[in-house]
């Protein structure tokens, strides 16, 4: 089958943009931890690229997009990328045709675009258990999680034979697969590894370098265009729609967060603007290719406000989600997944129609997808964490926490300033 040059150019550049998001995330998170743990944060994120890339090529891609096994997981036919090439084979085209999807980019382009999603998803979790999870434990978790949690859920939702795909659950660019999935996993691990020493009372737990966090925000925003618009898998009107929606939700998300905190806390903050933008981006992710522009405004605004309000829950509930992965990704992801079921309209994308388009049932499907992801990811992550705890332990010792993980775990110091 013919490949489209324009679509290939677009998807490749979008894949590069999505890869750039993981360093972006590293800086976003790295700026928020204490100075003594910034390198540990960067390391967990950068190293995720290595781990997931290796596994994805060897087996992960095949598990996610290989020939279906009961809607739950792909087969091993594509292990080591066997049969995945520079063009589009009939075999490949037929597989997608079953889901009414027409592929116009080389198989390897699809593979690598999807790989970038597989990378950032476990990386998102690192914010929750920051400043105390052993590097060794993280590496092991990333290996297991990537295969046992990410690949199956990606299969359910994005493989043409996945059970949620067939059910008609809508997830344009990863509300369930990426954000809810990572968000619930992050919560489980954060609970199991326990609170940081001194949390929450110590004034030490302030971000050590907010400009670094803002840099991360800028890169994330930039890369997210690749994430969402690239999910159209072609340079077409739908990609444009997703692009526009993504931008609007990010901008309005920041507005929402800043305005609500301005009212509540008396000050508009840069961290608030950054957080709100990311919240908006998270929430629009599943919806980007299904809803009209005004709905993106609503989704962004709600995400900014709801995620801000949810941050305080951790203080009440007493779980130490260091960098608010739960409030931003889990809550933002659920919000976005459900609102996709509300605001999707056929006029934007023939494939999806929600409550306001007269299809109330869609909301149920969305809720089911959310629930299934929560349950599966939550349980399997817990098992993984138990296993990892048994094998290498989860938490660094107290001295490491005092001295900082950069020195103790990585023998490095982030800044040597005169």
């Amino acid at each position: 089958m013919e490949i489209s040059g324009a679509d290939t150019a677009f998807v490749l550049i979008c894949a590069a943009l999505v890869l750039f998001m993981t360093p972006g995330l590293a800086f976003f998170y790295g700026g928020m931890v204490r100075q003594r743990n910034v390198l540990a944060m960067l390391m967990q994120n950068f190293f995720t690229i290595s781990i997931v890339t290796t596994l994805w090529v060897l087996v992960g891609f095949s598990l996610a997009f290989g020939p279906d096994n009961g809607g739950f997981i792909g087969g091993l036919d594509f292990m080591g990328l066997k049969g995945i090439g520079q063009g589009i084979t009939e075999n490949w085209a037929n597989m997608w045709a079953e889901g009414n999807v027409t592929m116009t980019v080389p198989e390897l382009a699809f593979m690598v675009f999807q790989l970038m999603f597989a990378i950032i998803t476990p990386a998102l979790m690192t914010g929750a258990f920051a400043e105390r999870l052993k590097f060794k434990a993280y590496a092991l978790i990333a290996v297991l999680w990537s295969i046992l949690v990410y690949a199956p859920v990606a299969h359910w939702v994005w493989s043409p034979n996945g059970w949620l795909f067939k059910l008609g659950a809508l997830d344009f660019a990863g509300g369930t697969v990426v954000h809810i999935n990572a968000g619930i996993g992050a919560l489980v691990i954060a609970l199991m590894v326990g609170k940081r020493k001194g949390w929450p009372e110590s004034p030490e737990m302030r971000p050590h370098n907010l400009p670094l966090t803002l840099l991360g925000t800028g890169i994330l925003w930039f890369g997210w265009f690749g994430f969402n618009a690239g999910s159209a898998l072609g340079a077409n009107g739908l990609a444009v729609q997703a692009f526009v929606n993504t931008h609007i939700a990010a901008a309005v998300g920041a507005l929402g967060w800043v305005v609500i905190e301005w009212i509540k806390d008396k000050h508009p903050t840069t961290l608030g603007a950054a957080s709100g933008a990311v919240a908006g981006l998270v929430a629009i992710t599943p919806a980007a290719g299904f809803v009209p522009e005004w709905a993106s405004m609503v989704i962004g605004l709600l995400a900014g406000i709801v995620c801000f309000l949810f941050v305080s829950v951790k203080f009440k509930a007493g779980y130490d989600d260091s960098l608010d992965v739960v409030a931003v990704h889990l809550v933002g992801g659920i919000l976005g997944a459900l609102l996709t079921g509300v605001f999707a309209v056929k006029g934007v994308n023939a494939l999806g129609s929600g409550l306001i388009d007269g299809n109330a049932a869609q909301l149920g499907k969305q809720a089911l997808a959310v629930g299934a992801t929560l349950l599966y990811s939550g349980v399997v992550t817990a098992i993984i964490a138990i296993v990892v705890k048994a094998v290498v332990g989860l938490r660094v010792d107290e001295e490491t926490e005092d001295v900082g993980m950069d020195l103790a775990e990585h023998s490095e110091r982030a800044y040597v300033l005169d």
Partner: protein
């Protein structure tokens, strides 16, 4: 009046501050410092090159107290800063001849 200079481990600052507050001390001035002593520093490694860093991050606290508060202050620092491990730091006491509050011009113990 005496100047108490204490060199402590960075993560003990909050405890020391609280102990001093409890002991009725109203003010102190701290700076980030690097200490050299018996304690061995963490080795750092960059691209396989090892650096034994002999200077270790410390906090230097300085407070001027009335004679009458001296022992309480020293004791507060000592007990709050002690971990029992090497590198806990030192306390030095130095005589002070004058003290002055810039805002009001008050002198002596009133200035503290």
């Amino acid at each position: 009046m005496k100047q108490v200079v204490a060199v402590i481990k960075p993560h003990k600052l909050d405890d020391v501050k609280d102990a001093l507050k409890e002991a009725g001390i109203q003010g102190m001035t701290v700076v980030d410092a690097k200490g050299f002593g018996r304690q061995r520093g963490q080795t750092e490694v960059y691209r396989g090159a090892e650096y034994e860093i002999e200077f270790i991050p410390k906090i230097r606290i300085e407070l001027v107290v009335a004679e009458s508060q001296l022992d309480a202050a020293v004791e507060a620092i000592r007990s709050a800063a002690q971990t029992g491990k090497i590198g806990d730091g030192k306390i030095f006491v130095i005589p002070v001849e004058r003290a002055l509050r810039i805002r009001t011009g008050e002198e002596g113990e009133d200035a503290l």
